[in-house]
């Protein structure tokens, strides 16, 4: 027998219906239960801000199979030995002790949107009134690719450590090959940043080659900065090619087939094509596509049959950049919308819509002691019903001051998510 809160709610919903927000059935006396799946930048921020702003009016449960999240942000500095991986791990203790978020360590196997029930891998099912999915990314695997031989290191953790170990074991004058997938992918500047840091490592060890094979028509972020860095700092090391389609990967022989020919290397970093995390994709929330369609004023799914299911961060497909900072930004808009709806207030009045903003700001290390930055602000476009770019800028140069500011930026971001 599972404890099924939904049955209790059904029994009392007739009495409560008159005062409930549309689509949300909840007991009049109790607080609504919001379940957030995924404890990364988007999910943890949503859980925290729902409680921070909603207090006792909302009961928030965070579900994640791991006790701690490992941040992709700053993880390229693990590769060149500037940061230990353990410094990028964040637990959920503060979310519980400071904000009252309940944490369940388990995997969600299935979503039943009609019963509003989540089947977990190990524990009893969990019911929700509102569900927030922050499922991140999954990979579309190239043929022949073995991730344990040619790491992606695009979800931080063991893969990051593997790539770091491979880079450290590289012979002098060796070749590093990286493949970049078609946009959109997680962290637009990330691959170019990584290419710079690996080039920096090789150059200070007497040289080598960094072969960058980009499926896109050109550099996808901070184009001025990275073009200059590839040219001025790493002209003898980085070989950048755009419009390169990846074919079969021979992970045993360390060879990749591409539209530009075969490339072999001592270390091969395959960053595969990306799409929404499995939980979102396997439950029909992408409608057969790569990303989940959402209403950007609430982040609720726009697909029929998924009422009160919200998708934030990399897994949603609103066209905003897939970054940690942006996932945090979306989580706050989502939390605001959920709390308004639970209080039977509108989310679509003009005063709110014209003030829906998100932003992304980040620093990119270019060498082991300099960095650049990138920033973008998005505003809700009421005519188009979409987030529109209001302003974007890049540093265009790399400085030591930026490198130092990068740590303040990251630490504040980490604290706003898990602290």
């Amino acid at each position: 027998m599972t404890i099924n809160r939904r049955n209790f709610i059904k029994a009392t919903s007739l009495a409560a219906a008159a005062s409930s927000a549309p689509g949300i059935l909840r007991a009049q006396s109790g607080s609504a239960r919001v379940v957030v799946v995924g404890g990364g930048f988007g999910g943890a921020t949503a859980a925290k801000y729902l409680k921070h702003w909603g207090g006792d009016k909302v009961d928030v449960t965070l579900i994640d199979p791991r006790a701690r999240h490992t941040s992709c942000v700053m993880s390229n500095l693990v590769l060149n030995g500037e940061l230990p991986l353990k410094d990028l791990r964040f637990g959920y203790g503060d979310l519980t002790s400071k904000y009252g978020v309940q944490v369940i360590k388990d995997s969600v196997k299935r979503i039943d949107p009609t019963a509003r029930e989540l089947t977990l891998k190990q524990q009893v099912p969990v019911n929700y009134d509102v569900l927030v999915l922050a499922a991140g990314i999954s990979f579309k695997k190239p043929r022949g690719w073995i991730a344990n031989k040619n790491p992606h290191a695009w979800i931080a953790g063991g893969q990051t450590r593997l790539l770091k170990d491979q880079l450290q074991a590289m012979p002098a004058g060796g070749t590093f090959v990286m493949t970049i997938p078609r946009s959109p992918y997680r962290c637009p500047p990330g691959p170019y940043e990584r290419a710079c840091l690996v080039a920096d490592m090789l150059q200070s060890n007497g040289g080598g080659r960094v072969v960058v094979l980009d499926a896109n028509e050109g550099i996808q972020a901070e184009e001025e900065t990275f073009s200059r860095a590839f040219d001025q700092l790493y002209g003898n090391v980085v070989e950048y090619s755009a419009g390169v389609e990846l074919g079969v990967v021979d992970s045993n022989a360390n060879v990749v087939e591409t539209s530009l020919g075969d490339f072999s290397g001592d270390v091969i970093n395959i960053i595969p094509t990306q799409r929404a995390g499995g939980l979102v994709r396997n439950n029909g929330l992408t409608d057969g596509g790569f990303w989940a369609p959402v209403d950007v004023t609430t982040y609720e799914s726009t697909l029929a049959g998924f009422e009160d299911i919200h998708i934030i961060g990399d897994a949603q497909g609103s066209g905003q950049p897939k970054s940690a900072h942006m996932a945090n930004a979306q989580a706050k808009i989502c939390a605001d919308a959920i709390l308004r709806k639970l209080a039977s207030q509108p989310t679509d009045h003009a005063e709110r819509l014209q003030n829906i903003t998100t932003n992304s700001a980040c620093y990119s290390p270019i060498t082991r002691d300099t960095a650049s930055w990138l920033t973008a602000v998005f505003q809700y476009d009421m005519d188009k019903g979409a987030m529109a770019l209001a302003h974007i800028a890049e540093a265009g140069e790399w400085t030591r001051d930026n490198y130092s500011e990068m740590f303040d930026w990251a630490n504040n971001l980490f604290a706003d998510v898990w602290g």
């Binding site: 702003w53 605001d336 903003t357 602000v377 505003q379 971001l413 604290a415």
Partner: protein, 112 residues
């Protein structure tokens, strides 16, 4: 050559027209939360980034307007550029209502 984007609202205009300016503080909060990624939850920052919790509305608003109108060079000036003047005002209004950090031991180095 940098051209000024537009005329900004004068703070006095907001004060005089206060009754007509939208007042829902939860909307202020929603906009202002977008600063917290760098300036800390409710404006309590760590490291060398400015804490903005408890700042005077007029001071913070004018600072943001100055950034927006400056020849944009640093990351914060470019951030300010993306917001409307009314949004900048509402951000400033929100942070004035948040208590300053208890451990606020850094000198305010701006306001020249």
């Amino acid at each position: 050559m940098i051209i000024k984007r537009k005329t900004h609202y004068l703070l006095s205009l907001f004060v005089v027209a206060g009754a007509s300016l939208a007042q829902d503080p939860t909307i202020d909060r929603m906009i202002a939360a977008q600063c917290a990624q760098c300036h800390g939850t409710d404006g309590h920052a760590t490291g060398d980034i400015d804490s903005i919790a408890g700042k005077d509305t007029a001071d913070l608003y004018h600072k943001l307007i100055d950034m927006e109108e400056d020849r944009a060079e640093d990351i914060m000036e470019h951030q300010a550029w993306g917001y409307t003047d009314e949004q900048l005002y509402r951000i400033a209004r929100y942070y004035s209502t948040v208590p300053e950090s208890d451990d606020e031991d850094r000198e305010d180095e701006d306001d020249d």
